[in-house]
């Protein structure tokens, strides 16, 4: 098996140039809808009629069924394949979740993991809503951990709906690093 490598490769100087800038913008491919909500609830064994029953949601003050707040991540994702895209062939790199701070910001790192997340929720996501995510790089903190040398890189994701109302703001911190025996210095 080959060594796994995640992320756009480049120098720390290149990474610093992205600080404060938009590093990704994705209109979510799917509108908020009952089928995707049900499939999201299923592996969590999460039973709540706000997310499945319009009458229950209306009784709680919503205009229709609402998606769970933390499902906002999924509704801000683009498609992994769309009509017109090339068809996959054996040996292609696997598709990864498009996290801009990993895949659009260059850094001299080969691996990464999510370390911290802060989420604040505003407008609820009703069935039919369409969610867009705009990501900015807001912080880079260099650090050496047991797993390797690298940096905690934070992206701020602002999620809005089709009326441009703020749905959520998420700060996602990813530690990007090189394992000790792969360090360049």
């Amino acid at each position: 098996m080959s060594e796994p490598v995640w992320g756009k490769y480049g120098s720390w100087e290149e990474a610093e140039q992205f600080l404060g800038k938009v590093i990704g913008e994705d209109p979510g491919v799917d509108a908020v809808e009952l089928g995707s909500i049900r499939r999201w609830l299923e592996p969590k064994e999460f039973a709540c009629t706000l997310h499945t029953d319009a009458a229950a949601a209306k009784a709680a003050g919503y205009r229709d069924v609402v998606a769970p707040s933390t499902m906002v991540f999924s509704y801000g994702l683009p498609a992994y394949w769309s009509p017109g895209d090339p068809h996959a062939v054996m040996g292609d790199e696997p598709r990864q979740i498009p996290i801009p701070v990993i895949f659009d910001v260059p850094a001299p790192c080969t691996l990464s993991f999510a370390s911290n997340i802060d989420m604040e929720f505003f407008e609820p996501m009703h069935v039919g809503d369409r969610i867009t995510r705009i990501s900015r790089l807001v912080d880079i903190k260099h650090k050496e951990l047991r797993v390797g040398k690298g940096a905690f890189m934070t992206q701020e994701d602002t999620y809005t709906n089709q009326a441009n109302a703020k749905v959520a703001v998420v700060l996602l911190t990813i530690f990007r690093f090189v394992p000790p025996d792969k360090s360049e210095d």
Partner: protein, 138 residues
């Protein structure tokens, strides 16, 4: 008809009913399909192990969703989830672990009717994830 917890019924130190969930490859695959985080480390055991993890493990979206379930089951239908902050993943929640999601009321603010809940998950490896939530109760 729906039941909801009211602000007046909450006391600092109250514990939320814990939720235990076994982590299996099937559950991780179901979750990846549902939340659309297809990072290999969350469903390909060999790739996860090659990165130093003990096995394929829960992703951030899954963990956040489990905390939302914990809070929703405690709050009922009329509570509003405002924030989950400082969510920090300290230990992998991997295949073979039974992960229990827990919470405890840390603070209650009369004027805003907001309640701060300390959240954590634990397994046989100890505390695996910590976070804090803020909710508004009727």
């Amino acid at each position: 008809m729906h039941a909801s917890r009211t602000f007046d019924s909450v006391t600092v130190g109250d514990e939320l009913q814990p939720i235990a969930i076994p982590i299996t490859l099937q559950r991780l695959v179901m979750e990846a399909g549902a939340n659309r985080d297809f990072s290999l480390i969350h469903h390909d055991r060999d790739v996860a192990k090659a990165t130093g993890a003990p096995d394929a493990y829960m992703n951030t979206f899954f963990i956040a969703g489990m905390f939302e379930r914990l809070l929703r089951e405690w709050m009922g239908q009329d509570g509003r989830l405002n924030k989950i902050t400082g969510l920090r993943m300290n230990v992998f929640n991997a295949i073979g672990d039974t992960v229990t999601f827990c919470g405890k009321v840390a603070r209650a603010e009369n004027e805003s009717r907001q309640v701060e809940v300390e959240l954590w998950s634990e397994s046989e490896k100890g505390k695996t994830v910590t976070a804090t939530a803020t909710v508004t109760l009727p």
